[in-house]
């Protein structure tokens, strides 16, 4: 069997993201798919793998990969779906690479779409109530807010163990908003202060509304292809992006089953991804770290080695993560200010690809050669870290 190398060939969002009340979850995925295929410089006929995830409640549908393949007129050689929550796209990236490199398909389409904002405004809850059955009969009766309550308890424990303050956590939201002002697709682009974050409506203490991600509509797509398939493209097609490292883990489902709320599985996945890529945290030029909540990003910044233990908020407080800083984090404006569709992971991959290609526009990090993307699902439950590089990137 010939050795094949799979690369990321194209990425895209749907035509519009954020608040898109006139689009269905399938339309959003179709737009993202077509845009990603155009970005890749490939033809529809090349796609013979489909990895699809959808979370629209308005059009709740089973068999996401069957529905999406049918809707897009694809009859793939491999089709699958997964639910690692916000890390799902990383799972799909992993499986797509495996499928391409094993010769099961030549080019795989990863799609995700959600109408969470519209669902919410039209009165459909973002998450169905977690029934008090099986493992959840020991948690649901106490009224835990999924998933905010879990992250709130992680935040309080982190603050307790390391003398971190709400102001320190708020610095994550402020830094992220600064990036959002540079992203025309970001939903929230007004100036934001630490005081604004502290004064916002409490949701699950110590987290207030502005410690929490947005609730958005949107679609995202990634095309993974065998390097040899890309040889026939137009000369102006964007350079392929290498996945130099990619690792996932699942440590639990319910937050009570994570023994240490300040040490999530990200520590393990980041170490594995760095090891695969043969790099250290110091080599990372830009990081897209899942930001469902300010505490999520603080824990991840520490876990991926961009801050010392207990210092996950320090680079944000010091301004190092903001535009122009030495440790740029969440350059698209993140789930806190750009968009958050319920499971946001695919958008961290999209932004990391744009950064290493050098095509991120006004928010481009100079000389970004190594980008790190990290997805989180559930209640700090599923983690995945990807290290992306691009030969021939840069403007």
């Amino acid at each position: 069997m010939t050795e094949r190398t799979a690369v990321i060939a194209g990425v895209a969002e749907s035509d519009a993201v954020g608040r898109v009340p006139d689009a269905t979850v399938l339309q959003l995925q179709a737009e993202a798919a077509a845009n990603a295929l155009a970005d890749a410089g490939l033809e529809k006929e090349t796609i013979d793998g489909v990895f699809a995830q959808g979370s629209g409640l308005r059009e709740r549908y089973h068999f996401p990969q069957l529905t999406v393949a049918e809707y897009l007129g694809l009859e793939p050689a491999i089709a699958s779906s997964n639910d690692l929550g916000g890390a799902s796209a990383f799972g799909h990236l992993q499986y797509a690479i495996l499928a391409v490199e094993a010769g099961l398909c030549d080019a795989a389409l990863i799609t995700y779409g959600s109408t969470n904002y519209t669902d919410r405004t039209e009165g459909r809850a973002q998450y169905p109530a977690r029934e008090p059955i099986l493992t959840r009969q020991f948690e649901t009766p106490y009224g835990t807010q999924f998933p905010i309550g879990a992250y709130a308890m992680a935040a309080r424990r982190y603050m307790h163990e390391y003398d971190v303050t709400r102001e320190d956590l708020a610095a994550v939201a402020v830094s992220t908003r600064e990036w959002a002002t540079l992203n025309p697709k970001a939903t929230m682009r007004e100036d934001l202060s630490v005081e604004d974050v502290l004064d916002a409506q409490p949701i699950c203490t110590p987290l207030g509304k502005l410690d929490c991600c947005l609730i958005s509509d949107g679609g995202g797509a990634v095309v993974v292809a065998a390097a040899e398939v890309l040889a026939d493209r137009d000369a102006d097609a964007p350079p392929p992006v290498d996945v130099a490292g990619l690792a996932q883990t699942v440590t639990h489902e319910q937050i009570s089953q994570l023994p240490d709320l300040t040490t999530p599985g990200a520590h393990r996945t980041a170490a594995q991804a760095y090891d695969q890529a043969g790099i250290d945290p110091a080599d990372v030029d830009v990081a897209e770290l899942y930001d469902s909540f300010t505490i999520t990003t603080a824990l991840l910044t520490e876990a991926v080695g961009l801050a010392d233990p207990g210092e996950g908020t320090a680079p944000f407080v010091a301004g190092e993560t903001a535009p122009g800083g030495a440790t740029p984090i969440n350059t698209n404006g993140g789930g806190l200010s750009y968009l958050h569709t319920g499971t946001y992971g695919i958008f961290t991959i999209v932004e990391a690809v744009r950064q290493v290609r050098g095509t991120a526009g006004e928010r481009q990090v100079p000389d970004a050669e190594v980008a790190l993307a990290h997805g989180v699902g559930g209640e700090l439950s599923a983690h995945a870290t990807a290290v992306l590089t691009c030969e021939g990137g840069g403007e």
Binding site: A129, P132, Q137, G143, T144, M153, R157, P202, Q257, L261
Partner: protein, 150 residues
């Protein structure tokens, strides 16, 4: 005094064959866990096998019913149906004291309520003791809740 009538429409555990011994003990005022007779680890919630070594030789043992407040959050939005009138209310994680030996040192946390305390007064790592709150009469279900030790 609180009882099932005060629980309103809040969720009640859906007791199943695996969880029944836990809820039966709770109705009897005892907080129990499974102890693996092969490797000595404790686990909660109950499982068909030991999560550490996959042995099926599991005993149900009483826990001391003491522990410390590991973390908590005060929810200003209802996290489950029936909690709308209770906001803001606190949800906590308690780090349970385990009978010796505890070979791996892995803690057992329990999601719970801290009762008879103002959330403003809660301090992490404070000592807590189990109490039980009846939330259903048929079947008879008592949820473990915790009180701050004086």
């Amino acid at each position: 005094m609180t009882g099932p009538d005060d629980w309103g429409d809040k969720p009640v555990p859906a007791v199943d064959p695996e969880s029944a011994p836990f809820w039966d003990a709770a109705a009897d005022g005892r907080l129990v866990a499974q102890r693996c007779e092969d490797c000595g680890e404790h686990q909660l919630y109950p499982r068909r096998l030991c999560r550490h070594c996959w042995s099926r030789d599991l005993a149900v043992v009483d826990l001391p019913g003491t522990g410390t407040l590991y973390s908590y959050t005060e929810c200003h939005v209802a996290g489950q149906p029936g909690y709308e009138a209770d906001v803001p209310y606190a949800v906590a994680l308690v780090d349970l004291d385990l009978p010796a030996p505890n070979p791996s040192g892995r803690p057992i946390h329990l999601t719970t309520h801290v009762v008879d305390a103002d959330p403003e007064d809660l301090v992490l790592d404070d000592s807590v003791t189990v109490a039980f709150r009846q939330v259903s009469t048929d079947p008879e279900i008592h949820l473990p809740v915790f009180e701050i030790e004086a």
